[in-house]
Amino acid sequence: MSDAPFLSLEKLTLAYGDTVAVKDLDLSIRKGELVAFLGPSGCGKTTTMRSIAGLLTPASGRISLDGADITRVSANKRSVGLVFQSYALFPHLSVFENVAFGLRLKKLPASEIETRVTAGLKSVGLSKFAARKPAELSGGQQQRVALARSMVMEPKVLLLDEPLSNLDARLRLEMRTELQRVQKETGVTMIFVTHDQGEALSLADRIVVMLNGAIEQIGTPEDIYNRPVSRFVADFVGFENIFAVEGGKLKAANGPIALSESLPPDTAGFAWRPRMVTLGSGPFQGTVRGASFSGSTREYLLDTPLGAIKAEEDAGLAAHQPGTELTFDLPVAKAARLERFG
């Protein structure tokens, strides 16, 4: 994995007619990276992916791949593979012919096509199904055909649109392993689009969180999970207690609360996961309003002067009954420091 950018998007603006879907997006991806585009629907992640594939011409900006400007290169000459969310297999062709489709267009010799398709099908474990029609396969099998169909073309970048969303839990785990294996064996650069933070965290080397057509944060799964930089990302990865900071003070329901620590000037807020809240000691007071037991932990909902607070404790500790008054603390040292709050 070299550090030079392999795929880069510069000032990319994408629009459908008059509707701007992505604005001035900059991003560079290294060779062999596995990147996730994560965000809610309508954030521009799929649009960005389609522009990389060449299915959508940018309104402005530049896309370059492997040192060449491909912004105006048509989709059929880009060496970019795409596994569609619906798999988009050709219903009238057998599994073998589906996988051979692109190779035949390249006018490769029949023997080479045979070899590559056979190898491709073998690598996804579908050798036995070569003669079947797509409709005779299960969803998971169809997806593996789609994967093989893209991979035999030896693309420079492989794009995957919501690769796990149509699969049940067991297949999802299988596919996740499969994708990691393919990536490891071939070293192909992979980008996948997902709205599921769990998928992104478990699979990607790097995550690009998008919102409203712009990048909200780029980072490793650890960065994103532990150090979200904006309220949106914090909320998206499961932070529950999120407060703005204004003039060095925490903005709470009943007025600002002074913080003892001196804060970096760009601090816009703090966020705590429920388990980061210390119960039983600290400067704040609240009433337990509700409790729920989830096996290893208990989660509490507290009514406090700061607003509603969610806290979590080991289930091994004694339970706090609803109505109990509790002291608690929101330790700034544990909190995620947000640079944007909007």
């Binding site: 989709a75 059929n76 880009r78 593979g81 795409l82 692109g102 267009l105 893209s150 073309m153």
Partner: protein
């Protein structure tokens, strides 16, 4: 009285009303008598045989066949690309285009025929066969667009994108992955267009000239002159032809999905 008792009777009567006349035609055409009658007077195939000897029937049959095949083919040549544009592209004035190509189904055929005669055939000196061809093409166009659009809409459009990403050109993607998958829709459109055009009367009423008229028009004028069972025989033969085509289409295509 509950529907359970009532239903079979109703059904029997309705089907008899709808289908019965067809059997009567068949029976009347097998009559040995000289005039149209039911029950038939004796049995004979002479009227069936006579159909094939009437010169004008042979000529107008050829005209109708040409119109039904040629007009439908032309309607598909125009209609398939239009359906494709309507279903896959963000077409400027798409609704207007859709309306214009489907209008001929709403406007009564007799008006289309008259308008063509008066403002195209006469002023521009078109011959009748060409005018009939244009009229039948226009008439079948709405069916072609409707049926082909329906099968395009049942086909996911991302397979074309997949084909393009695998190296195909846009046109190549259409012929390699779209056409093979809408083939039965196109065939269904062809059959529907053929039957519609072949049986069509009003549009051709004003468009007949010396030696050129469609078969149904020829039958209408034959009926005014003679009262023998040959028209019944011809009707029966045509009905069997239509039923045969539709039966085969249903058998092999599941035709009714498209209509």
């Amino acid at each position: 009285m509950t529907p359970r008792v009532f239903s079979p009777l109703v059904l029997f009567l309705v089907i008899a009303f709808l289908i019965g006349p067809f059997f009567i035609i068949v029976a009347a055409s097998l009559s040995g008598g000289e005039t149209l009658a039911f029950p038939p007077q004796g049995f004979s195939l002479k009227w069936v045989a006579k159909v094939f000897t009437v010169e004008s029937f042979r000529e107008s049959f050829a005209v109708s066949m040409f119109l039904a095949i040629g007009g439908t083919a032309m309607a598909l040549v125009l209609g398939i690309p239009a359906s494709y544009a309507l279903s896959r592209y963000k077409l400027p004035f798409g609704e207007t285009v859709r309306t214009i190509v489907s209008l001929p189904i709403i406007v009564p055929g007799i008006i289309v025929g008259l308008a063509l005669l008066r403002y195209i055939v006469v002023p521009f000196g078109f011959n009748i066969t060409l005018a009939l061809f244009l009229a039948h093409t226009a008439l079948v166009l709405p069916y072609a667009v409707r049926v082909v659009s329906a099968s395009l809409n049942n086909l996911r459009s991302d397979i074309e994108e997949a084909a393009v990403l695998l190296g195909s050109s846009r046109a190549g993607a259409f012929f390699r992955v779209v056409m093979p998958n809408i083939r039965s829709g196109i065939l269904a459109a062809f059959i529907l267009g053929f039957v519609t055009s072949f049986n069509q009367v009003p549009v051709s009423l004003f468009l007949s000239g010396p030696g050129v008229r469609t078969l149904p028009i020829d039958m209408l004028s034959y009926m005014e002159i003679t009262y023998d069972p040959s028209v019944a025989a011809l009707s029966a033969l045509l009905a069997f032809m239509s039923i045969g085509i539709v039966f085969l289409a249903e058998r092999f295509l599941g035709f009714s999905r498209y209509v």
